[in-house]
Every structure is written in structure tokens, then in C-alpha cells.
Amino acid sequence: MALLTYREALRTALDEEILRDENVVVIGEEVAQYNGAYKVTEGLWAAHGDKRLVDTPISEAGFVGMGIGASMLGLRPVIELMFWSFAYVAFDQIVNNAGCVRYMSGGLLNVPIVIRGPANGGTNVGATHSHTPENLLANMPGLKVVAPATAYDAKGLLKTSIRDNDPVMFMENTLLYGEKWEVPDTEYLIPLGQADVKRVGRDISLIAHGRAVLTCLKAAELLAAEHDIDAEVVDLRSIRPLDEETVITSVRKTHRAVVVEEGKPFCGIGAQLVSTIQEKAFDDLDAPIGRVASLDAPAIYSPPLEKRQLPDPQRVIEKVLHLS
């Protein structure tokens, strides 16, 4: 085991997959010579050269689409978006091409591409740069959506995503890039569609993905210390495919649930979870399911206010206490 940052975990995943499969190519803005806008790809260009790490112009629709086209011929492009917020200029490529060509061809084609980059608020970069589009993308059958919360998950999930034969939208978080976790030295893969219980508890299930998982873990500590409530924290890890069993099993045990996300509430991931839980575990519930999401407005710039807009442990705790 080594202590790796989330960033290093992603980097080693890329490095290993580039070495393993000659069809893996990393494409994006500043990924090669600049070493990555957020340094995820640092050193990879020096190690693997121009063919495997490709700097692009600021043409997301073009290079995302190019990656999709190349993947139809068997390449495994890993497209870096400097921010997932910039995916919107490439939305047609992602939704209509990556998401639909397999279906429209009656299964003749497949699109083994990974599109990855940070999708998070909390860094005071304003509304245009703070989007969290996992719910939009998960709404599109044909696309897969993954959102790791730790370095361990980031590495295992990225390697799996690269080997996956469908388009995987991989959501990272700039606030996590520098955080460290234990990561095994030997190779491992984490299947998509497998949630992870990050904290075992009896009294209530906190269900989240991405950085909101860490918010829930903090809230769980405080709930235990100050309110004698033993919360279970379920990390979805992958949003589509979604591990409904782990979610339902947890709720059957605790009889209460709060779903937490950093995205906006309307048609959010939490809405999907609430629907699933009430349909499959209605009789097990002792209280309505609570939801915590970002306050429902575009991301505000003002740093102290943006903190208030995003879910924090306090808001999770308030919601839990309200239901208990």
C-alpha cells in the first residue's frame, strides 16, 4: 500500500493502461507539454511521447467527436476535459454520437471512449465553470457515468472504464486531486455498477457519490459523537450502472435514508435514488427519505457564499435530525 493523491492515482491508472494497451491515447487541452491543467497527466508525455499524449486546440466538439470516431475503429481514447463544464460545447457529440450510435446501428458499433475531467463546484470559479452534469449524462441511455470519491476508487474505476467497451463519463473533482488515500501497489480493478459501503452503521443510510461521500463521512462522525446516531455511508461510485442492491440492502437495515449530492436538486441523482428506494423498499422505511443538494441556483462566485450553496456536514446532520 502506498499513500497516493487522487491525482496520482488517476495518473498511475493512465500510465498503466497506456503501457498495457497500445490503443490507449490521451487527448485534450494542455495534457502533454503543459503536464495537464490540473497536473493529472504530469510526466506522461515525457514518458510516452507525442503519439500517446496529444495536445489539442480549444475545440471540444472537435476533439471529443474525433475521439468517438477513433473509438469506432478500436482506439481507446481517454479524452480530458479541463472542466466537465466545457462538455457543453461538445454536448451533441457526447449525447448523439457517443450515446446513440450503438443503438441506431442496431448494435453494429460500440464506442470504447472515456471522457474524464473535474466536475465540481466549490472553487469560486463562477457559474460557467462549476457544473456537475452527472445527472444530465446519466439521463442518456448509452452513456455510463462514474464518480470516484477516493484515490483508491479513482484508480480502480479509471482502469476499468478504459477497458470498458462503452462510453464512460468519468467525473473527478479538483478539490480532491490533492487528497491522499491508501492505494495498493499491485494492480486492481473496480467493476462499474458496484457501490461501496464506506462506513457501516445501523440507524440511517447516507447515500452519495463523489466529494459528497466525504461530506457524509464527516457528518456521520459528528452524528455518532454528538447525537448518538450511527449512520451508514453508501458511496455509489458508479451512477449508471447503478448498484441498486447495495442501496436497498442498506435502507432495509437502517430504515431511514438521506441522499446527498453536490448537483442541483431538480431531476438530480438523489431524485432517482428516492424513486428507487420508495419503490423497492417502501415498507422498510420509517421516515420520508431526505434530500440534500446544492441550493437551487447557478453557482455563485462569492467564496463564503459558495460554501453555503454546497452541501456541508451541517446540512446533512440537520436533515438527519429532522428525520430521526
Binding site: E30, Y34, A127, I300
Partner: protein, 357 residues
């Protein structure tokens, strides 16, 4: 259609001859105000008083001040995220700009937009846009509305040398040429998009603006360090837009002294310090215009020092204003999302708009 009417260097055109002594002093002062505003903002950014990104305009001042000085009451401006220079040039106050950077309720965008998203529609300044190229269709749209309303004005739409490779920009060029819209696209070519040089990001023959040829649009390329030259060459395009409602693509060569943003970890890696020093020492727009005005005996060295001092004082006063200003209230997070809701209209009474529980 490369329509240069004057050859480079012929800066004493009528448009510049019309300038009074006071005008010239104001133009120099505006460039100093931008330079000192930004250096002051950098200092407070480094002290942790603001968040997010800070993209500085230092080195490019003659472009914003020169081009915007040509505008009249029917003319409009829209730009990208490197927007402080344009904001001050259109007459926004240092106070509202600094307060925005500090995230305060007194900021031009009430602390909601931040550095990349300054707005002042009362000054016909339509932002401040964070998505590369995203403002370029809007520039065409402003020109479209002017033409639709028979207003004899134009829109200056600024973008970077990297932004020209966004699809939306190409669509905008075609629309502007096809519909004959009075928009002037100004590529502020500072040679780099983040750490990528012009050569590594764009395919071109002789210049970036030459792409206008493909759209049968007028274009011009020139160096933007001399404010007179910037005014001279831009005025040709503005005249064309106002009189014949035709678009132009201008490429103005310039340079940024700082990194792409303050967060640019490689600011000194992809450019040599010789290159940066050469621009600072030999091509600085403030120095070049100062020298011209000294030669013309419009002002003295002491006057220039006075202008500089006043600009620094104004920037420091803006910091004091920003520090003393209140933050937005938490309830403000949910204002300014929908016009109908903010104005409590009939339309806002039906259905729910927000889903906080």
C-alpha cells in the same frame, strides 16, 4: 478583401488628429488605471482576499483602451474572461470591479459572477464570459439586434487566439457575413492560449484573421502596442460596420505579461523570460504612448508620474471600498435566477421555480 486603407505605422489619421490634449491624457490615464488596478488585484489575490481565477490583462491595455475609445452611444462591447481591461475602458468604476473580485454585494455583478463575469449593460458592456468562444455568437446577436432596430451602431466582440478554434466562432463568422451584421471580431492575439503557442493550436496560412477570407469578410492584422495605430486601424472597421453594416475580423497582436491566470503553474516554462522582458521593455503600450505624448509635448514626465500615482491611489481606494463592503446575504443565492420571480410578476405565481427542501 484584406482591406487595409492605411499602411502600418501611418498612425496620424484623422481619427487621431481629432483627439484633444485632454483626450490623449485620458487615454493614457485609462491604460494606467487598468495596469494599476490589476497589479493591486493581484496583490490581494495573493493575500487570499478573492477566490477562483484571476486572468490579468497587463501588456494588452492599448487594445481595450484604443478600440473602446472609438465607440459612441450606439456601440457595444462583449468579451471573454480576461475582462477587467475592457470593463474599466468602458467606464466601469474600480470600486465595483474590485468589489466583484472580493465577492461583495457592491460588486458589478453583486459578487455572483467573479473575475471572469463582469457586466455593465448600462455601459453597453455585455460581459465577461468564461467559456472560450461562448461570447462570439452573442456578439453577432447584439449586432443583429442593432440592425433589426435600425440603430446605426456596432458591436466589438473580443476573443483570444485560442478561442478562434471553437466551432461557435466559425458559425458566428458565417452568420455575421451572411446576414451582414455590424459586428467586429477582435482577436487579441497574445501568442498563447494557456501554455499552447499559436503555432501549436491553429492551422493557418499567413495570419489567423485570414480565415475571414473563407467567409468573404473584411479583415486586418496589425500590432497592438501603439494606441494610435490601434485606433486608426480599428476605426476603419467601425466605420464600415456603422455605414454599411458589414462585419470585420481584426487580429491585433499583443502580449500578456503574467501567466494565463494567477493559477498558471507553468507561466515561466512555455515562454522564455527573454521574450517576456522584450515585450515589457520594448513593446509596452503604456511606455510607447507615454513617449508619444512626451514627444508631442502633451504632458511632462512629472504629469505621467502624477497619472500613475493617481491610478495607484484609486486602486487602493477600491480595495478599501471592497474590504468595507458587505457580502451578499445567503438568501441572495436564490435571487437573480428568473426575471419573473425577481419582479414578482403574475407569471411567477404559477408553479414552483426552486426545489430546495
Amino acid at each position: 478583401m484584406h482591406t487595409v486603407l492605411q499602411s502600418p505605422g501611418e498612425s496620424r489619421s484623422t481619427i487621431n488628429e481629432q483627439l484633444t490634449k485632454a483626450d490623449k491624457i485620458r487615454l493614457l490615464r485609462d491604460m494606467y488605471r487598468i495596469r494599476r488596478f490589476e497589479q493591486t488585484s493581484l496583490k490581494y489575490y495573493n493575500l487570499g482576499r478573492m477566490g477562483g481565477f484571476l486572468h490579468l490583462y497587463s501588456g494588452q491595455e492599448a487594445v481595450a483602451v484604443g478600440t473602446i475609445s472609438l465607440l459612441g452611444e450606439n456601440d457595444h462591447v462583449i468579451t471573454a474572461y480576461r475582462d477587467h481591461g475592457h470593463a474599466l475602458a468602458v467606464g466601469m468604476s474600480m470600486n465595483e470591479c474590485m468589489a466583484e473580485l472580493f465577492g461583495k454585494a457592491t460588486g458589478c455583478s453583486k459578487g455572483k459572477g467573479g473575475s471572469m463575469h463582469f457586466f455593465a449593460p448600462d455601459k453597453r458592456y455585455w460581459g465577461g464570459h468564461g467559456i472560450v468562444g461562448g461570447q462570439t455568437p452573442l456578439g453577432a446577436g447584439i449586432a443583429y439586434a442593432l440592425k433589426y432596430k435600425n440603430i446605426p451602431g456596432c458591436c466589438l466582440c473580443y476573443l483570444g487566439d485560442g478561442a478562434i478554434n471553437q466551432g461557435a466562432f466559425h458559425e458566428s463568422l458565417n452568420l455575421a457575413a451572411l446576414f451582414q451584421l455590424p459586428v467586429i471580431y477582435i482577436i487579441e492575439n497574445n501568442g498563447y492560449s494557456m501554455g499552447t503557442s499559436q503555432k501549436r493550436s491553429s492551422a493557418y496560412k499567413s495570419s489567423l484573421a485570414e480565415r475571414a477570407e473563407a467567409y468573404n469578410m473584411a479583415w486586418d492584422v496589425f500590432i497592438g502596442e501603439d494606441l494610435y495605430e490601434v485606433r486608426n486601424r480599428t476605426n476603419i472597421a467601425i466605420d464600415r460596420a456603422r455605414k454599411t453594416q458589414q462585419p470585420t475580423l481584426l487580429e491585433i497582436q499583443t502580449y500578456r505579461y503574467y501567466g494565463h491566470s494567477v493559477a498558471d503553474a507553468n507561466a515561466k516554462k512555455y515562454r522564455t523570460s527573454e521574450e517576456i522582458d522584450d515585450y515589457k521593455n520594448n513593446h509596452d503600450p503604456l511606455q510607447i504612448f507615454s513617449k508619444a505624448l512626451l514627444q508631442e509635448e502633451v504632458l511632462t514626465q512629472a504629469d505621467i508620474q502624477e497619472i500613475d500615482k493617481a491610478a495607484k491611489e484609486e486602486a487602493n481606494a477600491a480595495v478599501a471600498f471592497a474590504e468595507e463592503s458587505p457580502l451578499p446575504e445567503e438568501s441572495d443565492i436564490l435571487n437573480d435566477v428568473y426575471w419573473e420571480v425577481d419582479n414578482q410578476t403574475e407569471a411567477a405565481k404559477h408553479g414552483y421555480y426552486f426545489f430546495n427542501n
